[in-house]
């Protein structure tokens, strides 16, 4: 090492009498802990996306199937839960997870930018496209979520917007050019985000090991591809008339 060690605190030889703040708050304040929050919240959102995709592929089976599926979602847990409670629990959970993901991303990014105050004069391409676009991709996805909720949950911007008829509402969205453009851009962004994010989450949670790196990267690519292609199949189905 360079020069002498300035202050060696004898860590095990001294009996610690003071109680430190709780480890959870220590972890939240550390970069490693905050990344773990990002990883877990990201994986929960990924799990939700898989369920969201499988359910929404009901679009290909006609209005009765799709609308019936949407209705069934609201009956989950009955009679233990009342009507729509399940949907609301998921919604609150997702909001909490999105906020946790966004807040940690914002705080970590601020820190990362501060840690490199002077840029290199000789710039060169670094890392993969998916890796470099995580921050802006995340912002795009956050904006898309707002649009998506205004469109198909609150029906504020939906051209048709009839509650209980998601099949017809989705058709209406994908019958407009802007509805298609926004959705396709967002789905490409989500694919890129998952491509880096899934592997990154595994690394952050310590699941990666020397022999497992390729499997994890392959899984990330597979998940990204399946989810992007799956979600894109719906507007493409509408555009091509397969879904009408």
């Amino acid at each position: 090492m360079h020069g002498g060690v300035s202050s060696v605190s004898a860590m095990a030889l001294v009996t610690r009498t003071d109680r430190r703040p709780s480890l959870v708050s220590l972890a939240w304040r550390s970069t490693v802990g905050k990344k773990a929050v990002m990883a877990v919240s990201g994986l929960i959102m990924l799990l939700y996306l898989v369920g969201h995709l499988v359910g929404n592929l009901n679009m290909f089976f006609g209005p009765d199937e799709m609308n019936g599926y949407a209705h069934w979602l609201r009956t989950i847990g009955e009679p233990f839960l009342k009507h729509s409670w399940f949907v609301w629990i998921v919604r609150f959970g997702l909001v909490a997870v999105v906020v946790a993901h966004g807040v940690s991303a914002y705080q970590l990014s601020r820190r990362d930018i501060r840690a490199r105050p002077v840029k290199y004069a000789h710039q060169r391409q670094r890392a993969s496209y998916a890796t470099r676009t995580m921050r802006w991709g995340g912002v795009i996805l956050a904006l898309f979520i707002v649009w998506h909720l205004l469109d198909l949950t609150t029906h504020t911007v939906n051209p048709r917007g009839e509650a209980g008829h998601p099949y017809e509402n989705v058709l209406a969205t994908f019958s407009t050019w802007y509805g298609n453009v926004i959705y396709i851009v967002a789905m490409l962004a989500v694919g890129l985000h998952i491509r880096h994010g899934f592997w990154s989450a595994a690394q952050t949670l310590g699941a990666n090991r020397p022999g497992r790196d390729r499997i994890l990267k392959g899984t990330a690519n597979g998940l990204a591809l399946v989810l992007t292609a799956g979600f894109l199949s719906i507007p493409i189905g509408v555009m091509t008339g397969v879904v009408s």
Partner: protein, 247 residues
């Protein structure tokens, strides 16, 4: 070989710096990058100009003293230290940009010299085992599984040069810290302080103002000693384990 250099010149820690252009001639392809800078410095000294300050020591690639960003890459285009980088990897007439490590935690001292004592403080916070030292212990007194010994050796190769920090877009010291944590936490001798070590070293790393890890992998690509990226995953595992255990 004749080369055009653009070198970061900065009088002192608080002075403003800028890239300065120099032409050097008569460079042998067998010279190391540092010998090429020595040649430039002799010329500068001969003209009565201030030589370019840079860190160096063993010039064998094992001490970690040298380090500069060459054409945007830490230690230059080859996976080695700047002292072991030979001029044959450049072409006659090339323009080469030479800059110091850039990180908030590594302030520039002068020209290409940066203050890396933040690394020393990370080591001081837990990069050791607390054992009474005396004569060398009997080799078989503490059995070490082969796999653990291999992991420890691989990570112990870190020379603390700081290329990982320089290469990381976030100026993060995760690869350095993880090499030290994984090295000691893999061994039975390091086991008693396993949790305390990872918590302290990550805490010190954050306190020094290094950025966080975004898993770009730039650090492991730049590392002259080949510390693997999964070492960061291993440190994350150790950290989360320590938090779960509540120590």
């Amino acid at each position: 070989m004749n080369l055009h250099l653009r070198v970061w010149r900065q009088q002192g820690p608080d002075a403003d710096g800028a890239m300065a252009a120099y032409d050097v001639s008569g460079i042998s392809p067998d010279m190391s990058f540092l010998e090429m800078l020595d040649t430039l410095n002799e010329e500068l000294a001969g003209r009565g100009e201030e030589p370019v300050a840079f860190d160096h020591d063993c010039r064998e690639g094992i001490c970690g003293a040298c380090g500069m960003v060459i054409n945007g890459q830490a230690h230059g285009p080859e996976r080695t230290t700047a002292c072991q980088l030979h001029m044959r990897h450049f072409a006659d007439g090339d323009t080469i940009d030479v800059e110091p490590w850039r990180a908030a935690a590594f302030p520039v001292v002068k020209d290409l010299v940066v203050d890396r004592s933040a690394f020393d403080r990370i080591i001081g916070s837990g990069g050791y085992v607390s054992v009474p030292t005396g004569s060398a212990p009997e080799a078989h007194a503490t059995p070490v599984p082969k796999a653990a010994a291999d992991t420890a050796f691989e990570n112990a190769e870190c020379i603390g040069c700081g290329a990982c920090v320089a290469a990381c877009p976030n100026g993060s010291a995760m690869l350095f810290t993880s090499a030290k944590v994984v090295h000691l936490n893999s061994l039975p001798q390091g086991a008693p302080e396993r949790e305390e070590r990872v918590l302290s070293m990550v805490g010190q790393m954050d306190a020094e103002g290094f950025g966080g890890c975004t898993n770009t992998g730039e650090c492991a690509t730049a590392c002259p000693k080949g510390i693997p990226l999964p070492s960061i995953a291993a440190m994350n595992r150790e950290y989360l384990r320590a938090v779960r255990k509540g120590r």
